[in-house]
């Protein structure tokens, strides 16, 4: 497959369990792939599917959503809603040609630094095997500058109008 491709993963970590799990992994000096870039949310239930799409749209190769284990949610059952959304989103992403490995939901309690680190390693490995996604250039064929909604799209076209007219 690809050589030395380093996937970039955006991680949405809930404040109470998985963010602390990542803290713990660090405190315990558990080394794992530096490919995941965490974003803190109060609860995995705050993860709007728009965030996942946004991350993919902005060039991430994968998205990890991490929450407390079902039944251990700090907000009682926010993670159950996450799980429901995740299942439906997964079906839709499949239709959009996004491989299943690219968007993963993992559970990690505050004490499971090791498990979270392993999940990051595993996902990184899977994405390395899968190769880059890099939506802006590989799917939309944008040159990537700005890549911010349609303004960028338009500004990229405008100068060439002379040629067409």
């Amino acid at each position: 497959m690809t050589e030395s491709f380093e996937p970039v993963i955006v991680g949405f970590l809930c404040n109470w369990c998985s963010y602390r799990a990542a803290d713990l992994a660090g405190t315990a000096r558990i080394h794992y792939a530096p490919n995941m870039r965490p974003i803190r949310v109060m609860c995995s239930g705050r993860v709007d599917p728009q965030f996942v799409l946004k991350a993919l749209r902005e060039g991430a190769d994968g998205v990890m959503i991490a929450g407390c284990h079902p039944g251990e949610c700090h907000y009682v059952n926010g993670n159950i809603k996450t799980l429901r959304r995740y299942h439906l989103l997964k079906r839709m992403l499949k239709q959009l040609g996004v491989e299943e490995e690219r968007v993963q939901l993992v559970w990690a309690s505050a004490s499971e630094g090791k498990q979270l680190a392993e999940a990051v390693d595993r996902m990184t490995e899977q994405l390395r095997a899968l190769g880059p996604l890099r939506w802006p250039e590989r799917v939309l064929g944008e040159d990537g500058r700005g890549a911010n909604g349609h303004e960028a799209f338009v500004s990229a076209i405008e100068p060439r109008e002379e040629v067409a007219a």
Binding site: P70, N77, L88, L96, V139
Partner: protein, 340 residues
Amino acid sequence: MSVNGKPKLAMYWAAACGGCEISVLNIGEHILTVDEVFDLAFFPCIADFKTVDVRGYPDGYIDVCLFNGAIRNSENEEMARLLRKKSKILVAYGSCAYEGCIPALANLTSKEATLETVFLNNPTIDNPDRVLPQPAYSVPEGELEIPEFYHTVKALDQVVDVDYYIPGCPPEPHQVWAVLQVVVAALLDGAPLPPKGSIVGAGDVAVCEECPLEKREKTITRFYRPYEITPQPGLCLLEQGLVCLGPATRSGCGALCPQVGMGCRGCYGPLPGVEDQGAKMLSAIASVIDAGEAGMEEAELDRVIEEAVATIPDPAGTFYRFSMAHSILRRANDSQSDKV
């Protein structure tokens, strides 16, 4: 303004069904006012204009151009650029121009697959030589060209700068008339126009606001396709398991569909502050699915939820029926195909 002093109106269709033109004519007797106020500069559906006529206009000659239809091929794009150049106000009219609409559902697949379906695989096709349209073709008389079919369907503002948007598939006549009145007032009496980029002819609150059906707390165990059940009259369709995009869609239509037992399809597009109508509706619907609870074993939890969400067989087609081109991802990943 032109010699006779009347503002110039244009309406053009790109990848569209023609419904938008009908919606303009549907404003009833007001059409006479339109005729009175405007001078038609370009309106292929109802009058004989040629592209060459438009090319001949000075830049900015047209005061208002209602552009409907998505950008599907090179001709659509060329016309969009031309009309942009020749128009003072360019309006993305209707869902296709605004956000891709039905044509943009083709973004879920590739150009090749689309062409194959249309020209080779449909049951009614008789094409033994498997001929596909070619952008250029030589005949004794010379080289023939047809527009190039793009890989990705785009909304109008993804190829040119757009001043206003009128959503709807098609826009509702009363909204069309309301917008035209504003434009007329601006052009004739110098009344202020809404800020550039505004979405006009629609509300800022969701369809539910206009929908008279009774809304209760929502817990949905499974979904049905419209033919599977007869909804109980008077009650919110979503609660009954019929997918209704009303909560994620701009009002303005008067909630016509839900009132006749058909869930809102979402043609008025996302609400202000929402980037991706499909993702938002997906989130809302999944959140109120009554499947799985804390304390269940993980495998069981996955199973019951999977079972419930599987009752929506085509999430992308359902949630992005009108907004695919303007969704965050815009199209499906199809990295093996070319990118035009």
